[in-house]
Protein backbone atom coordinates (compact mmCIF):
# COMPACT_ATOMS: atom_id res chain seq x y z
CA UNK A 1 0.00 0.00 0.00
CA UNK A 2 2.72 2.42 1.04
CA UNK A 3 4.80 1.36 -1.94
CA UNK A 4 1.87 1.80 -4.30
CA UNK A 5 1.20 5.34 -3.06
CA UNK A 6 4.90 6.22 -3.29
CA UNK A 7 5.02 4.88 -6.85
CA UNK A 8 1.91 6.90 -7.75
CA UNK A 9 3.41 10.06 -6.28
CA UNK A 10 6.65 9.46 -8.17
CA UNK A 11 4.80 8.92 -11.43
CA UNK A 12 2.73 12.07 -10.93
CA UNK A 13 5.90 14.05 -10.21
CA UNK A 14 7.62 12.64 -13.29
CA UNK A 15 4.68 13.55 -15.51
CA UNK A 16 4.50 17.07 -14.12
CA UNK A 17 8.26 17.53 -14.55
CA UNK A 18 7.85 16.47 -18.16
CA UNK A 19 5.00 18.96 -18.72
CA UNK A 20 7.03 21.76 -17.14
CA UNK A 21 9.96 20.79 -19.37
CA UNK A 22 7.69 21.10 -22.40
CA UNK A 23 6.92 24.66 -21.32
CA UNK A 24 10.63 25.36 -20.83
CA UNK A 25 11.34 24.22 -24.38
CA UNK A 26 8.34 25.88 -26.02
CA UNK A 27 7.99 29.03 -23.90
CA UNK A 28 8.08 31.98 -26.25
CA UNK A 29 9.93 34.31 -23.89
CA UNK A 30 12.57 33.96 -21.21
CA UNK A 31 9.97 34.85 -18.56
CA UNK A 32 7.90 31.79 -19.49
CA UNK A 33 10.98 29.64 -19.21
CA UNK A 34 11.96 30.99 -15.82
CA UNK A 35 8.45 30.43 -14.42
CA UNK A 36 8.55 26.84 -15.67
CA UNK A 37 12.01 26.35 -14.16
CA UNK A 38 10.70 27.61 -10.83
CA UNK A 39 8.04 24.92 -10.98
CA UNK A 40 10.78 22.41 -11.80
CA UNK A 41 12.60 23.37 -8.60
CA UNK A 42 9.52 22.71 -6.49
CA UNK A 43 8.92 19.43 -8.30
CA UNK A 44 12.50 18.50 -7.44
CA UNK A 45 11.88 19.38 -3.78
CA UNK A 46 8.74 17.23 -3.79
CA UNK A 47 10.57 14.32 -5.42
CA UNK A 48 13.40 14.45 -2.87
CA UNK A 49 10.77 14.59 -0.14
CA UNK A 50 8.84 11.60 -1.44
CA UNK A 51 12.03 9.58 -1.67
CA UNK A 52 13.18 10.59 1.81
CA UNK A 53 9.78 9.79 3.32
CA UNK A 54 9.49 6.43 1.56
CA UNK A 55 12.93 5.22 2.62
CA UNK A 56 12.68 6.86 6.07
CA UNK A 57 16.05 8.54 5.83
CA UNK A 58 16.98 12.17 6.38
CA UNK A 59 20.02 12.47 4.19
CA UNK A 60 18.36 14.71 1.64
CA UNK A 61 16.58 17.05 4.05
CA UNK A 62 19.45 19.62 4.02
CA UNK A 63 19.25 19.59 0.22
CA UNK A 64 15.53 20.35 0.47
CA UNK A 65 16.27 23.28 2.78
CA UNK A 66 18.95 24.60 0.44
CA UNK A 67 16.69 24.35 -2.60
CA UNK A 68 13.84 26.08 -0.78
CA UNK A 69 16.20 28.89 0.19
CA UNK A 70 18.10 29.37 -3.07
CA UNK A 71 15.45 28.40 -5.62
CA UNK A 72 14.13 31.92 -6.00
CA UNK A 73 17.48 33.60 -6.71
CA UNK A 74 17.47 32.54 -10.35
CA UNK A 75 14.04 33.89 -11.17
CA UNK A 76 14.61 37.15 -9.29
CA UNK A 77 17.88 37.83 -11.08
CA UNK A 78 16.45 36.97 -14.48
CA UNK A 79 13.46 39.21 -13.77
CA UNK A 80 15.83 42.08 -12.89
CA UNK A 81 17.81 41.40 -16.05
CA UNK A 82 14.72 41.48 -18.25
CA UNK A 83 13.43 44.71 -16.69
CA UNK A 84 16.84 46.37 -17.00
CA UNK A 85 17.11 45.28 -20.62
CA UNK A 86 13.76 46.84 -21.44
CA UNK A 87 14.79 50.06 -19.69
CA UNK A 88 17.83 50.33 -21.90
CA UNK A 89 15.92 49.96 -25.15
CA UNK A 90 13.13 52.46 -24.58
CA UNK A 91 10.94 52.53 -27.63
CA UNK A 92 10.28 56.29 -27.68
CA UNK A 93 13.50 57.97 -28.66
CA UNK A 94 14.94 60.14 -25.88
CA UNK A 95 11.77 60.30 -23.82
CA UNK A 96 12.17 58.77 -20.36
CA UNK A 97 9.58 56.03 -20.27
CA UNK A 98 7.34 55.85 -17.24
CA UNK A 99 8.26 52.18 -17.01
CA UNK A 100 11.83 52.84 -15.90
CA UNK A 101 11.49 55.80 -13.56
CA UNK A 102 11.19 54.30 -10.11
CA UNK A 103 13.23 51.15 -10.23
Amino acid sequence: MITAIALAAGTVLAVSALLALVRVVRGPTIINRIVALDVMVSILISALGVEAAYNRHTTTVPIIVALALVGFVGSVSVARFVARDEDGTGDEAGAPTTLGVDT
Binding site: M1, I2, I5, A6, A8, A9, G10, V12, L13, V15, S16, A17, L18, L19, A20, V22, R23, T29, I31, N32, I34, V35, A36, D38, V39, S42, I43, I45, S46, G49, V50, A52, A53, Y54, R56, H57, T58, V61, P62, I64, V65, A68, L69, G71, F72, S75, V76, V78, A79, R80, V82, A83, D85, E86, D87, T98, L99, G100
Partner: protein, 108 residues
Protein backbone atom coordinates in the same frame (compact mmCIF):
# COMPACT_ATOMS: atom_id res chain seq x y z
CA UNK B 1 0.10 7.48 10.49
CA UNK B 2 2.28 6.20 7.68
CA UNK B 3 -0.73 6.04 5.38
CA UNK B 4 -1.66 9.63 6.23
CA UNK B 5 1.91 10.73 5.50
CA UNK B 6 1.95 9.01 2.13
CA UNK B 7 -1.46 10.44 1.23
CA UNK B 8 -0.13 13.92 2.06
CA UNK B 9 2.85 13.28 -0.22
CA UNK B 10 0.55 12.13 -3.00
CA UNK B 11 -1.68 15.19 -2.66
CA UNK B 12 1.40 17.42 -2.74
CA UNK B 13 2.53 15.72 -5.92
CA UNK B 14 -0.91 16.25 -7.43
CA UNK B 15 -0.55 19.96 -6.68
CA UNK B 16 2.67 19.93 -8.67
CA UNK B 17 0.78 18.24 -11.50
CA UNK B 18 -1.89 20.96 -11.51
CA UNK B 19 0.89 23.57 -11.64
CA UNK B 20 2.46 21.85 -14.62
CA UNK B 21 -0.87 21.45 -16.46
CA UNK B 22 -1.72 25.10 -15.86
CA UNK B 23 1.73 26.06 -17.07
CA UNK B 24 1.08 24.22 -20.30
CA UNK B 25 -2.54 25.21 -20.92
CA UNK B 26 -2.89 28.83 -19.83
CA UNK B 27 -2.60 31.50 -22.48
CA UNK B 28 -0.25 34.19 -21.13
CA UNK B 29 2.56 34.70 -18.65
CA UNK B 30 0.54 36.15 -15.79
CA UNK B 31 -2.01 33.36 -15.74
CA UNK B 32 0.81 30.81 -16.00
CA UNK B 33 2.43 32.48 -13.01
CA UNK B 34 -0.87 32.25 -11.15
CA UNK B 35 -1.07 28.55 -11.92
CA UNK B 36 2.56 27.97 -11.01
CA UNK B 37 3.07 29.71 -7.69
CA UNK B 38 0.25 28.71 -5.39
CA UNK B 39 0.61 24.93 -5.86
CA UNK B 40 4.34 25.40 -5.35
CA UNK B 41 3.77 26.74 -1.85
CA UNK B 42 0.93 24.43 -0.79
CA UNK B 43 2.34 21.32 -2.46
CA UNK B 44 5.79 21.72 -0.93
CA UNK B 45 4.23 22.39 2.48
CA UNK B 46 2.18 19.18 2.22
CA UNK B 47 5.29 17.23 1.22
CA UNK B 48 7.24 18.67 4.15
CA UNK B 49 4.46 17.74 6.59
CA UNK B 50 4.39 14.27 5.03
CA UNK B 51 8.13 13.80 5.61
CA UNK B 52 7.70 14.92 9.21
CA UNK B 53 4.88 12.44 9.83
CA UNK B 54 6.63 9.55 8.14
CA UNK B 55 10.17 9.91 9.47
CA UNK B 56 9.06 10.91 12.94
CA UNK B 57 11.04 12.14 15.93
CA UNK B 58 14.36 10.73 14.72
CA UNK B 59 14.51 13.68 12.35
CA UNK B 60 15.54 17.16 13.30
CA UNK B 61 12.16 18.78 12.76
CA UNK B 62 13.64 22.27 12.80
CA UNK B 63 15.15 21.67 9.38
CA UNK B 64 11.75 20.77 7.94
CA UNK B 65 10.11 23.81 9.49
CA UNK B 66 12.96 25.87 8.05
CA UNK B 67 12.33 24.45 4.58
CA UNK B 68 8.64 25.35 4.77
CA UNK B 69 9.34 28.84 6.09
CA UNK B 70 11.92 29.51 3.38
CA UNK B 71 9.48 28.36 0.72
CA UNK B 72 6.78 30.62 2.16
CA UNK B 73 9.16 33.59 2.32
CA UNK B 74 10.94 33.33 -1.01
CA UNK B 75 8.29 32.21 -3.50
CA UNK B 76 6.03 35.28 -3.19
CA UNK B 77 9.09 37.50 -3.65
CA UNK B 78 10.09 35.64 -6.78
CA UNK B 79 6.55 35.74 -8.19
CA UNK B 80 6.28 39.45 -7.42
CA UNK B 81 9.56 40.24 -9.17
CA UNK B 82 8.68 38.11 -12.19
CA UNK B 83 5.23 39.67 -12.61
CA UNK B 84 6.73 43.14 -12.21
CA UNK B 85 9.21 42.36 -14.96
CA UNK B 86 6.40 41.02 -17.12
CA UNK B 87 4.34 44.19 -16.72
CA UNK B 88 7.27 46.52 -17.23
CA UNK B 89 8.51 44.80 -20.34
CA UNK B 90 4.91 44.96 -21.61
CA UNK B 91 4.36 41.26 -22.16
CA UNK B 92 0.88 41.39 -20.64
CA UNK B 93 -1.93 40.13 -22.85
CA UNK B 94 -4.21 43.10 -22.32
CA UNK B 95 -7.24 41.45 -23.92
CA UNK B 96 -7.29 38.94 -21.06
CA UNK B 97 -7.42 41.60 -18.34
CA UNK B 98 -10.81 42.67 -17.01
CA UNK B 99 -9.24 45.75 -15.42
CA UNK B 100 -5.66 47.02 -15.45
CA UNK B 101 -5.07 48.77 -12.13
CA UNK B 102 -1.52 49.76 -13.07
CA UNK B 103 -2.31 51.60 -16.28
CA UNK B 104 -2.20 55.39 -16.24
CA UNK B 105 -5.90 55.79 -17.08
CA UNK B 106 -7.13 53.67 -14.19
CA UNK B 107 -6.15 56.09 -11.45
CA UNK B 108 -9.12 58.46 -11.51
Amino acid sequence: MDLLAMVLLLVGSLFSLTAAIGLLRFPDVLSRLHAATKPQVLGVLLVVVGIGLRVGPSLDLGLLVLAGVFQLLTLPVAAHMVSRAVYRSDQVAHEHLAIDDLSAGAQD
